[in-house]
């Protein structure tokens, strides 16, 4: 089973899209429709039918900018404030201006959105200021609907190929190297443009249950895109702005904010009292959540037991059917019922994810990275708080621009030695008779991430983490063993995870201030320092070494008044922001 075959194939295309979750299918579709004669390949580590964050659908759009409810300028302003001002607004504004047309397009695919009796979209308020949440009554069909469009456009889909490294030549992108996850065979894909849509780095921290695959993010999202962008020399932005989410304790499902909140549910402390003003997932909210967990008022609960049984039934119908349908089995096993008791919550493991925070491969408003011809979209690209609709919208932007880029170039030349070196790196664990298996390399890395990198961030602990990571890296490079193609897949993922752990530590030590609430809370620099750190941080590989630098924030296109800047700072009930 899963025997390793020593083989290598080479193919060429105009546009290569890596990752078939949410952004990737949309990018591939748009690239193909922009230039129907071109060759577009969609490469996926799992199977496009059921891969990524929306494999079982999604309950709704968290950030829909619908005319009549919100304007693109209002949305841009809110995301800027929620992200402590560290935002290049142009990509956010472009998203906000474009997303309504994507909603209409999804509607035309057969995905329904909740409407009022008048036929208007029924948008709900969850954010601190504006109204952007739009439920999807048949949200479980979203992936299927998307897949139908891919088949109709006759896209070339390659499932079960894990991309491991990008090829760069002539100062631009040249393609990518991938490994078949069932046979270990190498695939070299030469491409004029490449779009990375590989999801969050979700297997970075270890869930407190100790079950390695019980992560908030789809556990297939092991940060491969972040690692590939890094090794290719692209810049990664604000990686110290971790993703940390409020979840049901021991279960990886979110609960309250976007689904149950509009029905009247809320996050409560052990006295059943509301302690945060707003359940929208911001770093500032997570800090109050964390403070309450640590206090005598902890732990924290999801409270629905004050709602009418019919209302709870309606909420269950959504929560137990889409996105995380195993939730009902979890509650049955615990004998917990939303109607009768509050449900214990906890905070998730750390990760990188721009879908919910701001840590991603740096992109501009065309989804272009710092490498010509290389694009990124979805959870792994640096457009903050962009969620599923952001993945669709920015995937669309990336696909169109990549198609245009590809039409102006021939395939770039590259160093054949890069392929040989990658082949040796990939296959090294298969050539050993004895050593450390990938699950132990991965477990140790992630256990160290929890021990040392989980905020609050202590500089001395971070330095110790870097030492321990270096030791694990030496073990990985010298002794990791993979006995079949499946273990080889896990071995390559372990390498991505360790790269992400190193990046998380490096970026966090660089930004010598606290920002984004819990996401970057440093004990040695507990205050926000706008004089020195009102900027992006960009991490990249220079001459083989990890480096960080500051990058100025592009001048705002939507101005923020001084009295609006701190609207997200006071999340605790009773501590109203100065308005």
């Amino acid at each position: 089973m899963d025997d390793i075959l020593d083989n290598q194939t080479e193919v060429s295309c105009d546009v290569l899209v890596i990752g078939g979750g949410t952004a990737g299918p949309m990018a591939a579709l748009k690239a193909k429709l922009a230039n129907p004669k071109s060759t577009v390949i969609l490469l996926e580590k799992a199977n496009v039918k059921r891969s990524g964050a929306i494999s079982m659908g999604m309950d709704g759009l968290n950030n829909a900018v619908v005319p009549g409810y919100a304007t693109p300028e209002q949305y841009t302003k809110e995301i800027t404030i929620a992200n402590d001002g560290i935002v290049d607004q142009k990509p956010v504004l472009k998203y906000a201006q474009t997303c309504y047309s994507i909603i209409e397009e999804l509607d035309s695919y057969g995905i329904r959105f909740q409407k009022t009796a008048n036929g208007d979209f029924a948008v709900k308020k969850v954010h601190h200021i504006g109204t952007y949440v739009l439920p999807m009554p048949n949200g479980e069909t979203v992936k299927k609907a998307l897949y139908r469009q891919l088949r109709r456009a006759r896209l070339l889909i390659s499932n079960r190929f894990m991309a491991t490294r990008l090829l760069v030549g002539d100062g631009r992108i040249a393609g990518a190297i991938a490994v078949n996850t069932r046979s270990g065979e190498l695939l070299v894909v030469r491409a004029k443009a490449v779009v990375l849509c590989m999801g969050a780095a979700g297997r970075l921290g270890l869930p407190t249950s100790g079950y390695m695959f019980g992560t908030y993010e789809n556990a297939a999202n092991s940060g491969d895109g972040y690692a590939m962008a890094y090794h290719a020399g692209a810049a990664l932005a604000n990686l110290e702005c971790f993703q940390i989410n409020p979840l049901i304790k021991d279960y990886n499902g979110p609960a309250c904010a976007y689904v149950a909140g509009p029905f009247g549910a809320y996050t409560a402390n052990n006295k059943g009292q509301r302690f945060i003003e707003c359940d929208y997932w911001s770093g500032q909210m997570m800090l109050e959540f964390y403070n309450e967990l640590q206090s005598g008022n902890g732990p924290v609960f999801l409270k629905l037991d004050h709602l009418h049984a019919d209302t709870v039934g309606e909420i269950e119908d959504i929560l137990h059917r889409v996105e995380r349908p195993s939730r009902s089995a979890f509650h049955a096993g615990r004998h917990t019922d939303y109607r009768r008791q509050m449900i214990e919550m906890h905070i998730s493991e750390i990760g990188f994810c721009s879908g919910h925070s701001a840590s991603g491969v740096f992109v501009d408003e065309y989804a272009r990275t710092t490498i010509p011809g290389l694009y990124a979209a979805g959870d792994m690209a640096s457009v903050p708080h962009n969620y599923m609709l952001g993945a669709f919208t920015n995937g669309s932007v990336a696909g169109k621009d990549a198609a245009e880029f590809a039409s102006g170039y021939e395939l770039a030349a590259f160093d054949r030695g890069d392929v040989e070196r990658e082949r040796e790196r990939v296959l090294a664990p298969t050539r050993r008779d004895d050593g450390i298996p990938p699950n132990q390399i991965e477990y140790k890395t992630r256990r160290l991430v929890n021990d040392y990198l989980q905020p609050p961030k202590v500089a001395r602990k971070y330095e110790l983490a870097q030492q321990r990571f270096a030791e694990v890296r030496e073990d990985m490079e010298r002794t990791m063993i993979a006995r079949n193609a499946h273990e080889l897949l896990r071995a390559l993922e372990a390498s991505s995870i360790l790269d992400c752990a190193d990046m998380a530590a490096h970026a966090s030590l660089y930004r010598a201030e606290s920002r984004w609430g819990l996401y970057h809370l440093r004990t040695d620099f507990p205050e926000k320092n706008d004089n020195d750190w009102f900027c992006h941080t960009l991490l990249s590989k220079r001459a083989g070494r990890m480096t960080s630098e500051k990058r100025a924030i592009a001048p705002y296109v939507v101005p923020i008044a001084d009295d609006e800047k701190k609207l997200y700072d006071k999340q605790r009930v009773g501590a109203r922001a100065a308005v």
Partner: protein, 77 residues
């Protein structure tokens, strides 16, 4: 260092009476994001070969005969 085989109870259960993998069906194996299901060479039926489950449920939802059950892994149950 020599390797040991440590036992775990796996979350995905396949009802061999209902499973039609021996007739050529590979749906559950195909859709799994973590690629942890396989067809047994001995029984011809699907089974969980690797305990690396996100309990996301496409295997159960897409099985044409309802043979697949996804349980919550013991460590977080």
């Amino acid at each position: 260092m020599p390797l040991a085989n440590t036992s775990t109870s796996v979350p995905v259960i396949v009802d061999n009476e209902k499973c039609i993998a021996d007739k050529g069906c590979t749906v559950c194996v195909d859709v799994c994001p973590l690629d942890v299901l396989r067809i047994s060479e001995q029984t011809g039926k699907a089974y969980m070969a690797y305990d690396e489950c996100w309990y996301c449920m496409p295997c159960a939802a897409d099985c044409p005969t309802g043979a697949v059950t996804v349980n919550i892994p013991y460590l977080l149950k």
